[in-house]
């Protein structure tokens, strides 16, 4: 596969301790050959975007089972745009009602995944999105 390793910053924003899913995903992405920086719990949109800048991440992934997905995704996206990371993929998962998904899409958030999603689909989605982006940017 061409190009450097895909770098993913993953975090749990706010006061949400449900970290079973996020840790499974982090490990699955590593096994799939990506570089993962897991920031852990109680992160703020500011701390997440700052880490993404420092790490020059290709992807920011948020895990949210607290019902605060609209608040957090919106704020993280705003800060990403401000920090010049507007072209990076913002994705995530958790308990996110179907009816909120169009709103997230409108904000510029990529696909969000719910309970029962096959991990391989998540890995493939991230890989394909980043490879597509790299192809467009580098013209090959």
């Amino acid at each position: 596969m061409a190009g450097p390793k895909i770098k993913v910053v993953i975090a749990k924003p706010g006061l949400d301790g449900h970290d079973r899913g996020v840790k499974v995903i982090a490990r699955a992405l590593v096994e799939a050959g990506m570089e993962v920086v897991y920031l852990g719990l109680q992160q703020t949109p500011e701390s997440i975007v700052q880490a993404a800048v420092e790490e020059d991440a290709d992807v920011i992934g948020l895990s949210i089972l607290s019902g605060a997905h609209l608040t957090h995704f919106k704020r993280v996206k705003e800060l990403m745009d401000k920090a010049g990371l507007g072209d990076r993929l913002l994705t995530g998962g958790g308990i996110i009602p179907t009816k909120d998904q169009p709103k997230l899409k409108e904000l510029g958030v990529g696909k969000v995944f719910g309970p029962g999603e096959d991990i391989q689909n998540i890995v493939e989605y991230i890989r394909e999105t980043i490879q597509e982006r790299r192809r467009t940017e580098h013209g090959f």
Partner: protein, 547 residues
């Protein structure tokens, strides 16, 4: 020694063509195709089973079990504002529920006020927001607290949420010794699984022993702690890990209370347990039976408790939220029914059944009513409550019960090598064991080794959601913030300041903190103000992220 018959069967089984399937338990436990008396040659029924209500309580904690009294049907509920939750409680009581159980929102669980920076977007979302005594007043309005038992799922700030509850009872003229209920108050499983902490372990353990001492004197009918495996299991542990880590947490509380100078006969009868009732039917029944046997043996033999009441592992069970699916949510009713039946056959004292919409949102009224009705069908129609420990003596079940006990003992030895549970937690041992088990299960689903109906097999393509889903309106957060700011203006702020000062002073010393926390609650100090005052003395806990 095997009988000729067993040998004959083995012969026939070897020749049989088997399905392509995984025959291990949901925890990955290898299982034999058949169990018979040859599997129980080391099993002494007198010593291992005894009789119900007697040591080692394998068959149940009461001599009469469900013929004497059914389990308490206790649905965990909380959402939005205290008023909304109060309405839900009245609805549940009207439908025949026999106990209350409060679900708090994330900010409350972390000891933060609704106006804290990290609380944005989370107020009232996954439980009810409680900031001050005023919210507690609204939450329990018109509910007779001396006649209904109340369980509160709160841990890190348990002591001061409880003093708000006490202050409310006091204002209604209800004596503390009339109050019945349970405080979860189990901080160790927070570090292990649920991740809602404030301070490092030592000050949290002090608050727990302070509360045990206070309740022994003033609130004698209150269960001061509900030692919880539920969240450990939800975080992805196996059944054996849930059993072992929960009981090891329990031993740690016992040791910490003994060190603090408490008499074991005073506090041990008020310890209670909370286990998951997961999908693997027999493994779950065996787990609850093993829990009772292990706990009784350790309390009697290791900790030398004399009163049989100090040996009892009384259990609240909840069906497994993590087993429920967002896909085809109606079929979750069936999963929950099987899990609840396992809880009952395992001899639980109270039970929560999850609603079919668990993986989507907080339960709608319709969903929670069906969940409660599921318990009522088991209690009144199925016949499961007619006979005590009806599966006792089953070759398979007794083998499983013993195997789980042995596995738990192996974990206890490992934890002891790591310096006890606090040391093990600080070294990340239980956390890593659980994380590994969770990953392995997820991979087994991904590879279709394990089946989840509607998710990796029997999938309905393009399915449409056909059940109502509860939404928490964004106005909840606004209302809660408004109420909080009104209270801050209306209360006697100098009384708040001085009560927080005296709390800090006691925290720096060794006195019991509960009377000071009660004083803070009475003058409407907020949950977050109390947390902040104590953080100044105790510091904050941080977890090193890992996966």
């Amino acid at each position: 020694m095997k009988t000729a018959n067993k040998k004959l069967w083995e012969e026939k089984f070897r020749k049989a063509e088997l399905r392509e399937a995984d025959f291990s338990s949901i925890s990955g436990r290898p299982l034999q195709p058949l169990y018979s008396w040859e599997d129980l040659t080391d099993f002494d029924p007198e010593a291992k089973l005894g009789i119900p209500g007697e040591f080692p309580f394998t068959r149940g904690v009461h001599p009469s079990m469900y013929r004497g009294r059914l389990w308490t049907m206790r649905q965990f509920a909380g959402m939005g504002t205290p008023q909304q939750t109060n309405e839900r409680y009245k609805f549940l009581l009207e439908k025949g529920q026999t106990g209350l159980s409060v679900a708090f929102d994330n900010p409350t669980l972390y000891g933060r006020d609704s106006d804290h920076a990290l609380a944005v977007g989370e107020v009232g979302k996954t439980g009810v927001a409680v900031d001050t005594l005023a919210d507690m007043e609204r939450l329990f309005r018109d509910i007779p607290l001396d006649r209904v038992s109340t369980s509160m799922t709160i841990n890190a700030p348990a002591a001061w949420i409880f003093t708000m509850f006490l202050a409310n009872a006091e204002n209604h003229g209800i004596a503390f010794d009339k109050l019945r209920g349970t405080l979860q108050n189990d901080i160790l499983k927070e570090y292990i699984a649920q991740k809602e902490w404030i301070f490092p372990p030592a000050p949290h353990l002090r608050l727990i022993t302070d509360l045990m001492a206070f309740c022994a004197d003033h609130v004698p009918q209150w269960n001061t702690i509900s030692i919880s495996g539920y969240h450990i299991r939800e975080a992805g542990s196996t059944a054996a890990q849930e059993l072992a880590f929960t009981l090891a947490d329990g031993f740690t509380y016992v040791e910490s209370a003994i060190r603090a100078g408490l008499d074991i006969e005073d506090f041990a009868p008020r310890l209670s347990f909370f286990f998951n009732a997961h999908l693997d039917f027999f493994e779950e029944i065996a787990k609850l039976r093993a829990a009772r046997r292990i706990w009784a043996r350790h309390m009697k033999e290791k900790y030398k408790a004399k009163s049989p009441r100090s040996w009892l592992c009384r259990v609240h069970a909840q069906t497994a939220g993590c087993s429920l699916t967002a896909q085809q949510p109606e079929i979750n009713i069936i999963r929950t029914a099987l899990e609840a039946l396992a809880g009952v056959l395992g001899g639980c004292q109270s039970l929560h059944t999850n609603s079919m919409d668990e993986a989507l949102a907080l339960p709608s009224e319709k969903a929670v009513e069906i969940a409660l009705r599921t318990q009522q069908i088991i209690a009144f129609e199925s016949g499961a409550a007619n006979v005590i420990d009806p599966l006792g003596g089953s070759y398979y079940l007794e083998r499983l019960t013993q195997d789980l006990e042995d596995e738990a003992e192996k974990y206890f030895r490992r934890i002891a090598e790591l310096g006890g549970m606090v040391g093990a937690i600080e070294q990340g041992f239980p956390q890593r064991e659980i994380t590994r088990a969770a990953y392995e299960y997820q991979m087994a689903l991904s590879r279709k080794i394990k089946v989840l109906v509607g998710v990796n097999q029997f999938v309905n393509e393009d399915e449409k959601l056909e059940i109502p889903v509860l939404e928490i309106d964004e106005s909840v957060e606004r209302d809660q913030l408004e109420n909080l700011s009104k209270i801050k203006q209306r209360r006697d702020n100098s009384a708040v300041r001085s009560s927080l000062e005296s709390l800090k002073k006691t925290a720096s010393g060794t006195g019991n903190l509960i009377p000071h926390l009660l004083e803070c609650a009475r003058v409407y100090a907020t949950e977050g103000e109390i947390s902040d005052a104590l953080i100044k003395v105790f510091g904050e806990y941080r977890e090193q992220p890992f996966y």
